[in-house]
Symmetry: C2
Subunit: 268 residues, 2 copies
């Protein structure tokens, strides 16, 4: 791992940084392949929206890219993480009058992802931990991630590839680290990201792909009963791409069914 | 400001610490007066409960105290902040098998609190930012504080001393940095901390004081309409103690009314 803080090689950050004190910031996790940041503009666009929502100055995307390139120059495959915090200052929630955002860029080894996940599909856990409704934070990738940490701590079984999280009304919104799609009557359904959840970059990319392939996509809520009757399910994020789902509770699904296959092929 | 991380003087923390990455930790803010940490056992008890809820090993309170004493030895009045994070490790929400908690102890100058706040009372803002319902995190003082940062950013007017936050059902739960009490028909009412909010140390202390003074205390929800009809309101936390409320929206209150006075005198 290597880290740059505001352009300087450094793996330590001030304790007074509001990213640590309050989770006062945002992040993006980006796949890097042969010197290219996948979906760079989409990541930068979500980061900018997050900054605007949190009233943090939007960083210069070109500067972030040039700093990131210093770190991944020699990597074939890597994971780039960009964090933007509000910076250091103030004891208390009030945003200090003079504060400048901190940019933290780190590069990580590509994780060892079981190849079987893509081929045979994964088993899903249904998390007890619920997503709370907070429209002010929904969609953006902010640093307040305790709900995801608690949800991910619910299972140790390595046969389980991901956990789905419901909101307080029982709508299944997303995975702990992914979005999901269900195939119902030949249509691709994914939950709206309005009250909670992260508007994933891969989710948006899949929606665009589906439109290109003339697959109808609907954004609407689904509860567990409907998911258990779905024809196909898959989860997605920027690093794993797509993992078809083989099992949720006692229900087994058609792995890499017709629609999932079209989408997976479209992403190659 | 001085800082100890795991017992060593250091004002920098590893970027990989999960406190920064995910807000994966807890904190306590404690008043220190002439070498004494006010309500130390109560703070340690809430911290321990928070650790248990987040599955972080409970730190040794005696060790925390001896480390804190190194920092505030020569201070008459100071603010002690103790943060416990899950420690460094893992890229992803999963808690690594081997991880040891980070303890961060810092000592800060006593803030300049307007003395008028205690005497003349404060004006309250009613925040637009809502508290989301998350029973898994309610009551504890965790590091996911974006809701409070957003709420506190709603006003700049220095005449306003605090902002009240409602939950998504319109129940007024707490202030951005405080709990509150209303006096209605001679009884002291404060919201339940069940779905959201922090179970403040001063709040608990005031409830005990009220019982000693034979003032009836009820924990139940209140909406804005009821608050506007209250006889007295005050906010409280470990650093400010009690601030009577002079104004909320267009309503003016009896400042340091009968019940508030009894409680304020009891705390001296």
């Amino acid at each position: 791992m290597s880290f740059l803080i505001n352009g300087e090689l450094n793996d330590q950050i001030a304790i007074s940084d509001r990213g640590l004190q309050y989770g006062d910031g945002l992040f993006e996790t980006i796949a890097v392949e042969d010197g290219q940041c996948e979906h760079w503009h989409e990541h930068m666009s979500r980061l900018a929206e997050g900054c605007e929502r949190l009233k943090i100055p939007v960083p210069d995307a070109q500067l972030l890219l040039s700093e990131a390139q210093q770190l991944f120059a020699d990597k074939h495959l890597a994971v780039l993480k960009i964090m933007i915090t509000r910076g250091s200052g103030g004891r208390g929630y009030k945003i200090p009058d003079t504060v400048s955002a901190t940019r933290i860029i780190s590069i990580h080894e590509w994780p060892t992802i079981p190849t079987m996940n893509k081929v045979l599909g994964i088993q899903l856990h249904l998390c007890e931990t619920k997503l709370s409704h907070q429209p002010a934070l929904a969609g953006i990738k902010h640093l307040n991630r305790l709900e995801q940490v608690l949800a991910r701590s619910e299972w140790q079984d390595t046969d389980i590839g991901e956990g789905l999280m419901a909101d307080i009304n029982g709508n299944i919104i997303e995975g702990t680290m992914s979005n999901y799609f269900a195939v119902i009557n030949g249509e691709l359904i994914t939950p709206e990201i309005v009250d909670c959840g992260v508007a994933g970059i891969m989710r948006a990319h899949i929606i665009r792909q589906a439109v290109l392939h003339e697959i109808t996509v609907r954004e609407r809520n689904m509860k567990i009963d409907e998911l258990l009757l779905a024809d196909e399910i898959f989860v997605c994020n920027s690093i794993i791409g797509i993992w078809p789902v083989r099992q949720l509770l006692d229900t087994h699904y058609n792995v890499i069914g017709h629609v999932t296959a079209k989408i997976m092929n479209g992403l190659v």
